[in-house]
Amino acid sequence: MIEGVPFRDDFLERYLCSHDVSSPPLIKRFFKIADGVFQPEKEEDVLRILKFAEKKKIPVIPRGAATSGYGGVIPVRGGFVVDFTRMDRFEIDEDGRILVSEPGAVWWDIERELNKKGLTLRVYPTSAFSSTVGGWIAQNGYGVGSLAYGSIAENVTRLRVADFRGVNETENIHLYAGLEGTTGMITKAWIEVKEFEEMQAYAFHVSPEKAVKLVFSSDSYSALFLDEKYIRMKNSVHSTQIPEKDTLVVVSKKKLDGDESLGNEIWEARFYPMKIKRLGPGIIPAEVIIPSERLSEYLQRISGWNAGSEVWFIKEKLCAVLSFLPWDERKASYTYQWRFAVKALKTAKKLGGRSYSSGLYLSRESKEIFPGYNELLRFKKEVDPHNLLNPVKVFPSGIISKIMALAGVF
């Protein structure tokens, strides 16, 4: 298609690159599938793809590891998927403690190399075994280390981004972080890393209120709370025997008086939050950010749903609550049970919270997620006048956002 740029347009590859980890009911019928999949090997390839797409007025949809679940990588209106798998080189500036990475590099591959140099990532998602630098920045998530270091965007100092005008190097991270490729394709990122320090995980059986107090009264690196229901689910699929009680795990370089062996056991399993999908088989997720002082109330209010929750604490006294309701995806009732995700978001909003992310399904939430939404919208129109950069994501338009708005009514 474009000489020298790996490309496939057979049905199988297009079909396989037209979804993410989500399995939403019904609305899938409104999605197109990709017209083709490019795998650029260098920045110049990305520019050539963009030129080609602009000429043909075809959407371009960036894709990292497709581990996100808000529909961001779905080519809703067709178009070319730009899969960054082959752009995975990275360098480590040891003295400046800066990682300079292409977008397709995988977090855990980077972490292994950093560790060899006595360094470590400040923050990473629990999907680090597969998710990419570009994907997480474009999603602007929280994860391990966010208690001390905030979101990934707070740790990015510079970005190189390709759009229809060319390549631009910028410190205006907010114009791209969380915007899922709607304002440009990240081709390089400068990310702050830190010195490797020995840390220990400590477990405490405490209520959500106590957990919040404990977490924010210490200056720990990371903290994770699992509610009793989630632990019960985990035990049944991991064949572990973790006491089925609300449990907080705090990771710190300081010695704390929690249970070290249980702390380690839970911490080691942090990369497998979705193992419980086997219980459905299928899960309906609800992911929200809420002020930590409302955590207990939030968990109480969604407790009628039999969902299990894990909570990641974030600096500025926030927390990300990820709740899973196992449900058999093949059953007709699966569609109906998605009300859980809608109700959980409504509950969070009543308590001063918001959706964790925007993407395709929750683009109507963008105004609340992004404080400078109007400025971002202006910027989007300026760089992408034909709305070809991952259209229908983050900036709501078309039928999907209407359907989602309708779902919110029930």
């Binding site: 079909y15 979804h19 590891a65 581990t67 075994f129 699929v237 088989p281 093949r330």
Partner: protein, 381 residues
């Protein structure tokens, strides 16, 4: 097409599409979603949901998998992926979309000769000229096709070693048939069942209780697949199946075997069929250490070990891919500065030596053991 197998039908819905299985050697080389384990699972799900009718290219991509099990070892939701791949391949065969041309040819050839190499059945035991075998014993040496026709030094080393140790054993010569591994892995189960019957009857006739193999592929097949096939076909299964490394380790531990020491530095390549499929990791390393070798590990080792690239019908159908995968493993071995690589499977040795193009030599553990064995008690075991 229909995808009726119940294991496949259930497990595809368990996958979260997390891509942890990107460790796949075929995906590492080819980079396309259709050759990633996650992509394969999604394709199967698409078939089950009636959203996709796989064409020839799709089925080919599905077969670009060595059944190495690296994906299964890291799977977020503990899906028994090797079984899923094999059962799905059997469904492709049932629906007429497979076998792929070379796999079909191997089947035709094996049907006639009892081996997939197209060699004459009567010559299966030719490597053993000069050795004498009893017609019956409690232990049988199962040489397998690769050691019988292509890597005969392994078969000879095994027999010499067993003789040195005074072990009472039998060997079926031309009455040994292919274990069926290439056919189970490529979805052609019926012919593997025929071989099972023939081997089973031969073992019963010879009064066999224990089967020892030097080939990791045969070991996995006879130890893991045969009991299941026996159950399916209503045969009684009471054989003990061991790999030569088990036997060697037992002799060393029992004070019956010592070695002439070597100071060489070696690295051990875990054959997928011995390691991830059967969880045998420590025995070969312990044996090598007893022999005085300095054992250094490659970056990916034991459960994380990289595949040699030859298995699952990949070498026969997709030679270039097999070579690319093999080269990655050789590069890892070179980085260890080992004097040579040791493995415990004729197929790995053959393939890695080809992929390595002489950059580093690959030897089988049974050859080293036979060369350096100092039996302490040659009484019958």
């Amino acid at each position: 097409m229909k995808m009726d197998n119940s294991l496949v039908n259930n497990e595809v819905f368990v996958c979260v599409q997390c891509h942890y299985c990107r460790v796949c050697p075929a995906y590492s080389v080819l980079k396309w979603e259709s050759v990633s384990p996650r992509g394969r699972i999604y394709m199967l799900k698409g078939i089950i949901k009636g959203e996709i009718e796989p064409d020839g290219e799709a089925v080919e991509d599905f077969y670009k998998c060595t059944t190495c099990g690296a994906c299964e070892a890291v799977c977020q939701t503990s899906i028994p992926l090797i079984d899923v791949w094999e059962r799905a391949r059997a469904e492709f065969v049932n629906s007429g979309k497979a076998p792929l041309p070379v796999h079909k040819k191997l089947r035709d050839v094996a049907k006639k000769n009892g081996n997939p190499y197209g060699e004459k059945r009567g010559e299966r035991g030719r490597w053993a000229e000069g050795y004498e075998f009893k017609s019956g014993a409690e232990m049988i040496y199962f040489a397998g096709c690769t050691a019988s026709y292509r890597m005969t030094e392994l078969a000879r080393s095994t027999v010499e070693f067993l003789n040195k140790m005074g072990i009472d054993f039998t060997y079926a010569e031309e009455d040994e048939h292919c274990c069926g591994s290439p056919f189970l892995r490529t979805g052609q189960r019926d012919i593997a069942y025929q071989f099972f019957r023939k081997n089973y009857e031969e073992w019963r006739e010879r009064g066999v209780k224990t089967i020892v193999t030097t080939c990791s592929g045969c070991y996995r097949t006879i130890a893991k697949d045969y009991p299941e096939i026996a159950r399916e076909l209503g045969y009684k299964w009471d054989f003990k199946v061991i790999h030569t490394v088990h036997l060697i380790k037992e002799l060393v531990d029992g004070g019956k075997l010592e070695f002439e020491k070597s100071n060489d530095r070696v690295t051990f390549h875990d054959p997928c069929h011995l390691g991830r499929h059967m969880k045998v990791y420590d025995e070969p390393r312990e044996i090598l250490r007893k022999m005085g070798y300095e054992v250094v590990e490659m970056e990916h080792t034991k459960e994380e070990s990289l595949c040699c690239g030859a298995g699952g019908g990949v070498k026969s159908q997709f030679k270039d891919l097999a070579m690319e995968i093999g080269k990655i493993r050789i590069d890892e071995a070179l980085k260890t500065d080992a004097d040579f690589v040791v493995s415990a499977c004729p197929f790995c040795k053959l393939h890695l030596n080809q992929a390595g193009e002489g950059k580093i030599h690959v030897r089988d553990i049974v050859e080293l053991v036979n060369e350096r064995a100092k039996p302490l008690n040659t009484g019958k075991t």
